[in-house]
């Protein structure tokens, strides 16, 4: 018992160290609700305010966080992975961190959520399409999607990922980790450069 308790304490300490080493300022695993979205975005706003972060960077980070969190809350709830040892529906992992040297530092917003394999091709096609488009192409794609797309039952307009790519000027980084024969875990990393974007 004593041993277990010590192991547990060590685990907490190594979590703490890992977070510092990776410059993770926020790590959350669990249900993503609207209240959580509001709390995290205001936390990030306050942190950046304290650091006297540039207004345009603050806006971009806020924007990316909102879209990422809303994607998580809207899409992960379809996927209940408890029976495969994963998280319940509506859950996901959400991380905000910084990476790089101080001269060229970037904010990172990372999300992870379960997805059914049968839904993967559609998402993959969208991600690939977004990454192929340049600034002007993304703008046209967004406008077309806004005109022709309809609001889903959960209030998604299919615009979030396009918008993230537009606002950051970066390619979307993604990865699918196989969970079992029917499910995967979708990871998305968005970078917001602290250097002024064009």
């Amino acid at each position: 018992m004593e041993q277990k308790s010590t192991d547990y304490m060590k685990l907490i300490y190594s979590f703490h160290e890992e977070m510092l080493r990776n410059d993770f300022t926020l790590v959350y695993e669990g249900e993503i609700t609207h209240q959580i979205t509001k709390a995290f975005t205001s936390l990030a706003e306050n942190n950046m305010e304290r650091m006297s972060e540039d207004t345009s960077i603050k806006k971009k980070v806020f924007h990316v966080m909102v879209e990422c969190l809303q994607n998580l809350s809207k899409h992960s709830e379809e996927n209940d992975l408890t029976k495969y040892g994963g998280g319940p529906a509506g859950n996901g992992i959400f991380i905000v961190g910084k990476l790089g040297e101080t001269t060229n530092q970037q904010y990172h917003v990372i999300t992870g959520n379960p997805i059914e394999n049968e839904k993967m091709p559609e998402l993959l096609a969208l991600l690939e399409k977004i990454n192929e488009l340049d600034k002007e192409g993304l703008k046209e794609f967004y406008k077309r999607q806004m005109r022709e797309g309809t609001l889903s039952e959960k209030g998604g307009a299919g615009l979030g990922l396009i918008d993230i790519a537009r606002k950051t000027g970066e390619k979307l980084e993604y990865h699918f980790v196989p969970v079992d024969e029917n499910n995967s875990f979708f990871l998305l990393r968005t970078k917001i450069s602290r250097k002024q974007l064009d």
Binding site: K38, S56, Q70, Y142, K143, M146, R147, A157, L159
Partner: protein, 124 residues
């Protein structure tokens, strides 16, 4: 016509829809939990207004921030006013953006591209 006045919060905009005083205004932030539910009465009000619009309609947007789901609803609102404009009524959109907010200025240009209503933009 009924007046709609919604006081803004940190995730929903200030909305004034007042036909009698000829004020139509959206300001603040828009990232409601459920965009469809939030904007449904607004779209409905505009549909009623379209039946007997004022001789001049000025739709004012002074938003600091809106999420992508709201961007779709803003387009739906603008398309309603476009119908009024197409019926031969005088409709104008006044779009305010903070001086250094390029995204908000660009959003104005994009809507002006899609919707056939005259736009004027103002930085503040």
């Amino acid at each position: 016509m009924d007046v709609i006045k919604i006081k803004g919060t940190d995730d929903t905009p200030n909305v004034i829809l007042d036909a009698q005083n000829n004020i139509i205004e959206f300001s603040g932030r828009s990232l409601p939990e459920d965009v469809a539910t939030f904007y449904a009465p607004i779209i409905e009000w505009i549909a009623q207004y379209a039946k007997s619009p004022n001789s001049k309609t000025n739709v004012v947007f002074k938003l600091e921030y809106f999420n992508t789901a709201s961007s779709k609803m803003i387009l739906d609102i603008l398309l309603k006013y476009e119908e009024i404009h197409k019926e031969g009524h005088d409709v104008m959109v006044s779009w305010y953006y903070q001086e250094d907010d390029e995204d908000m200025e660009e959003a104005c240009d994009e809507y002006a591209d899609i919707v056939e209503i005259p736009f004027q933009k103002f930085s503040y």
